[in-house]
């Protein structure tokens, strides 16, 4: 058998599997850290968006607007090319995590913001009538309810984040997609490489996608 999916090609791919295992682990590592910071940014900015201070609102809206309407690739290019020029040298992993968190954080903030808005206003009023401060009411009453509403779309964002982590391939980030691109080019073995890379991403993303769907169904049922 010859062609892109010949036995030889498959054998060669499997003989170098550690390269892809390495990239796979780095994709998981970067995605996990990216997701963590995404949540931090999303919650902080999402809560700030519910406030009334004009300057803070303008800054938050500007952040959302810029980061949602420009490509992640360009944002990462800026970190990669501009920051060293102004004396800030970051390694590719940091750039990747930062890029993913700032980009996905803008979407997460939207989700947190609308989830909080979806909690009935009576909840806030009831909490303050019981002597809760704004922050206390937020932490103990509003956010726990908002989590239920925001969890399904947030889970979808986690899948997007993992897929978008492939942007690291452009800056030689050593993630799974980087090795899929560079290893296949070096060895001229494309078929098995791309199929197996797809399978590895599916292993990561499919369960989370299914979880998102299940959460959506559950929240519709409970509504």
């Amino acid at each position: 058998m010859s062609g892109p999916f010949s036995l030889y090609n498959w054998k060669t791919w499997f003989s170098d599997w550690t390269v892809f295992a390495h990239g796979f682990l780095r994709t998981i590592y970067i995605s996990a850290l990216g997701l963590l910071f995404t949540l931090v940014i999303g919650i902080i900015v999402g809560v700030l968006l519910c406030g009334k201070r004009r300057v803070i609102l303008a800054i938050c809206r500007g952040y959302l607007s810029f980061f949602q309407n420009t490509p992640l690739v360009i944002q990462v290019f800026i970190y990669y090319n501009v920051l060293p020029k102004i004396g800030l040298r970051l390694d590719v992993i940091t750039i990747g995590v930062m890029g993913l968190a700032l980009y996905t954080g803008a979407y997460a903030a939207d989700i947190v913001h609308s989830a909080i808005k979806a909690v009935p206003t009576g909840q806030m009023e009831a909490a303050s009538s019981q002597g809760f401060s704004y922050v206390q009411a937020m932490v103990h009453v509003i956010l726990p309810q908002a989590v239920k509403i925001g969890l399904p779309p947030m889970t979808n964002q986690a899948v997007n984040l993992i897929k978008n982590s492939s942007v690291l391939a452009i800056i030689a980030g050593g993630d799974l997609m980087y090795f899929a691109d560079s290893w296949s080019g070096d060895n001229l073995i494309y078929g098995p490489t791309f199929v197996m890379t797809g399978v590895l991403y599916l292993i990561l993303c499919l369960p989370i996608s299914m979880l998102a769907r299940w959460l959506e169904k559950r929240s519709v049922r409970n509504a």
Binding site: N69, T70, I74, K85, K163, S184, Y190, G198, Y201, L202
Partner: protein, 226 residues
Amino acid sequence: MLENWANAFAAVFTSRILIFLGKGLLNTLYIASVSIVLSLAFGTILGLMRNSKGHVVRWAATLYIEIVRNIPLVLFIISFRFMTKLPALESGIAAMTVFTSAIIAEVVRGGLNSVGKGQWEAATSQGFSRVKTMWYVIIPQALRRIRSPLVSQFVTTIKDTSFCAVVGTAELSYRSKVAMAQPTIVTAEDIIVLYLLVAMAYYVINRIFAGIARKQRGNAMKGVVR
């Protein structure tokens, strides 16, 4: 200090660089618009297939959508670039269409499912056939609800074209990288001005679509019968 910025503008805003980037932008818009049109067609078919009663048809559409949605676009871009003989732009279009169709299929399906069961029952009770119910009752209502997410998808697709930079396609993002390597682009200010210009090009186009999407979301909310 101010002189550096003035020099940076002079270095970036030359006809050579602007024409070079402008052609990149045209390629970006070409890839994005053809991909969107094709994806709308295939995505709608896939969405209808996934909602259909035929087991094999539904199963095939589900399999396609779930696999494609959970794999990064970049993998499709490099696969089409290195495994087909398509020219650069067209291979980008093919990859983006394969990917975006699956996303649009889910939007279409969501829209169809959002129309209440009562509408089906009411139409059937009035003697509408399945196809007629779909065409006259369900689709008009679904369309109003999915218009906004579909326009939002334009923004995503335009942004997604930048992933074609991975394989060196001459769209705006890749060309910004090439422009940066020009001997006239030297200082930090030069690079900042260059990237702000490129970011602004994407921003302005995407903001227009994001604005339309928001307006349509408002319109869709107005006429909803629950």
